[in-house]
């Protein structure tokens, strides 16, 4: 029995690179989305809700539920399950409505 998803599909990925989540270093594989890279590091939440301040992360995994919205390189409301990870990406926990630049 294969022990990891990468074993199962015989993955030989291109060299990994680093991104950060709230300043913490996270290793990503080229071709992974931000959400996949975070899951790979055991991180399941990168947003807090507007009313309850509750943690959220990827739920539907296909861009439909918008629960995985993250602030990426300062830009809020990016769907982490769709956006590919790039070397040096800085993901920060998105709090509340995420409209930091509008101050609404």
């Amino acid at each position: 029995m294969a022990r990891t998803p990468a074993d199962l599909v015989g993955a030989q990925p291109d060299p990994p690179f680093e991104i950060t989540f709230d300043g913490r270093r996270v290793t990503a594989l080229p071709g992974q989305t931000l959400a996949a890279a975070l899951w790979g590091a055991g991180i399941l939440a990168w947003r807090t809700t507007r009313d309850g301040g509750r943690p959220r992360g990827a739920f539907c995994g296909i861009g439909q539920c918008y629960d995985c919205l993250a602030t990426v390189n300062g830009e809020p409301n990016r769907r982490a399950c769709l956006v590919p990870a790039r070397p040096g990406d800085a993901i920060t926990t998105q709090e509340g409505h995420g409209h930091d630049r509008l101050a609404v």
């Binding site: 029995m1 294969a2 022990r3 990891t4 998803p5 990468a6 074993d7 199962l8 599909v9 015989g10 993955a11 030989q12 990925p13 291109d14 594989l29 080229p30 071709g31 992974q32 989305t33 959400a35 996949a36 890279a37 899951w39 790979g40 399941l44 939440a45 809700t49 009313d51 309850g52 509750r54 943690p55 959220r56 992360g57 990827a58 739920f59 539907c60 995994g61 296909i62 861009g63 439909q64 539920c65 918008y66 629960d67 919205l69 990426v72 390189n73 830009e75 409301n77 990016r78 769907r79 399950c81 769709l82 956006v83 590919p84 790039r86 409505h97 409209h99 630049r101 509008l102 609404v104």
Partner: protein, 509 residues
């Protein structure tokens, strides 16, 4: 402005970060427009339709939100992940690679990274598809594609029924867990309970187990007896039984226990999943008191079947039909045409039925489009054969849909403080109050009173639940699946509509 009235998108400034690894939106090729056919969705149905239509001599544009073809069923790792055996996570992988090879050898214009937010019929009867571009639709340049005919192959999304604790990190959609595994080669946890209803659960559980997760239980709310009540549809579709058997064998090999007529009725944990309670259900999906058992796990993959994604069609006024599982699909004629002339649909949009049915309908629709445009009759042995296969697989799909229709008793596992609408954090208690105290009798009124369904996802996650709660014990109306904006659209993209139709660089707002 966006699809979500409560979440206005910043209209300016435009995002400055470049996206080198995002799919590069192709500029509409003015010389080829209007295309004979624009296909929205590059999953099984859309791929089959696009390559068939192209091979029949039509100029075809194939639009899809993803960077790669395959849709959700054949979602697969990016080339840079170097998967030498992607088929290990797939059923019927060669059917996809055959289509992919035909696409590569065709003249189809594949527009990856195109999120279609609206389709409109022009005065001359042709169609325009409006799309935002990039991995998540936030790239600078919107696109519009013109075509003489349009085919919607937009697939489905997962149906969710809320339960106490389902907003905890570690609770993910069953299809979501599958998608993240298939494309990103990652798991949501080490011990993953798979729960809900529908044949997808068996596929998800066997994939997770093969990829190294422990799966303490697969929890299916329905029994499988409903299938046996339709022996003809089963006998006519031996491949479907074989597929179920292969998942069942894989589960046995991984010692995964399947619990029928049971549901996860509560998720435990503070900041992430620590355990779930599994409770037996009666025939109406009502939890049987005293039967709850706690199972330790660090993730829950949950889903209750699939919902046809049809908002582009409903915005055009297409007729729908109510499916046996309480969802809405498009009403289609014998050659896959919707009630709007010149607009076809294939695959899950007409009712969820799987990849083989989707490919069959896509190919059939392509023949019908070609016949219309070339002024021929849509007949012949090939079309007759496709129709027979479509009818046979459709019959099975209807049996499957009926077998997994949620029973009315599921609402009994909701506590008043369970979040129903994940986006707007609206609890079951507030929706019940809107119904019992304020007189809401339908999902729309409940939404106006509570904001349930008014957030980013526009009711995709909570629509079924709000409809059931609003029906207050009566027969729920299927969620309307009407979303004038199929995806969120920035003001800048709307402002760019003033540009010339074929202008690849519309004026900045």
């Amino acid at each position: 402005m966006t699809a979500s009235p409560s979440e206005p998108e910043p209209s300016a400034p435009e995002p400055s970060a470049p996206e080198p690894s995002a799919p590069e939106p192709s500029a509409p090729e003015a010389r080829r427009e209007p295309y004979d056919l624009a296909v929205v969705g590059a999953g099984s149905a859309g791929l089959a339709a696009a390559v068939t239509a192209s091979e029949l001599g039509l100029a075809v544009a194939l639009l899809d939100a993803s960077a790669q073809t395959g849709g959700q069923f054949h979602r697969h790792p990016a080339p840079t992940l170097g998967a030498r055996r992607p088929e290990a996570l797939h059923h019927d992988w060669s059917a996809f690679t055959d289509l992919r090879r035909r696409l590569a050898g065709s003249s189809v214009t594949h527009l990856a990274g195109h999120h279609v937010w609206s389709t409109v019929r022009e005065d001359d009867g042709s169609w325009t598809a409006h799309a935002v571009t990039g991995a998540d639709g936030t790239a600078g340049r919107p696109a519009r594609i013109r075509a003489r005919t349009l085919l919607l192959a937009t697939g489905a999304y997962e149906r969710q029924l809320p339960l106490p604790g389902w907003t905890l990190p570690g609770v993910v959609g069953a299809g979501g867990a599958q998608a993240m595994l298939k494309s990103g080669l990652v798991l949501p946890g080490r011990r993953v309970v798979v729960a809900g209803s529908g044949p997808l659960l068996l596929a998800v559980a066997s994939s997770l187990a093969a990829a190294g997760a422990r799966v303490p239980a697969v929890v299916e709310a329905a029994g499988y007896l409903r299938y046996v009540r339709s022996p003809l549809a089963l006998l006519a579709n031996p491949a479907k039984a074989a597929e179920a058997l292969s998942h069942g064998t894989a589960l046995l090999r991984h010692r995964v226990r399947v619990r029928l007529r049971s549901a996860v009725t509560e998720v435990h944990g503070t900041d992430r999943v620590e355990a779930v309670t599994v409770t037996r259900l009666d025939a109406d999906w009502r939890p049987v008191p005293g039967t709850g058992r706690r199972i330790a796990c660090d993730a829950l993959a949950v889903g209750h079947g699939l919902v046809p994604q049809i908002e582009l069609a409903t915005a055009l006024g297409c007729a729908t039909r109510r499916l046996p599982d309480g969802t809405l699909g498009l009403a289609l004629d014998d050659l896959q045409e919707t009630s709007e002339r010149g607009l076809w649909a294939a695959g899950e949009t007409g009712g969820v039925g799987g990849a083989e049915l989707a490919r069959t309908e896509g190919e059939l629709a392509a023949h019908a489009v070609a016949a219309r445009l070339l002024g021929r009759r849509a007949d012949g042995d090939r079309i007759a054969g496709l129709r027979r296969r479509r009818d046979r697989l459709r019959a099975f799909a209807e049996v499957m849909s009926a077998a997994h229709a949620p029973g009315p008793g599921w609402q009994d596992w909701l506590t008043d403080d369970t979040d129903v609408c994940r986006c707007e954090e609206v609890t079951a208690g507030r929706i019940r109050e809107a119904v019992t105290e304020l007189g809401a009798r339908d999902a729309r009124t409940a939404k106006l009173l509570t904001r349930a369904g008014m957030g980013w996802c526009q009711g995709r996650m909570c629509g079924t639940a709000v409809s059931c709660l609003a029906a207050h014990g009566g027969a729920p109306e299927p969620p309307a699946e009407r979303r004038p904006f199929a995806v969120p659209v920035r003001l800048s993209a709307l402002a760019a509509l003033d540009g010339e139709p074929d202008d690849p660089h519309p004026r900045a707002p």
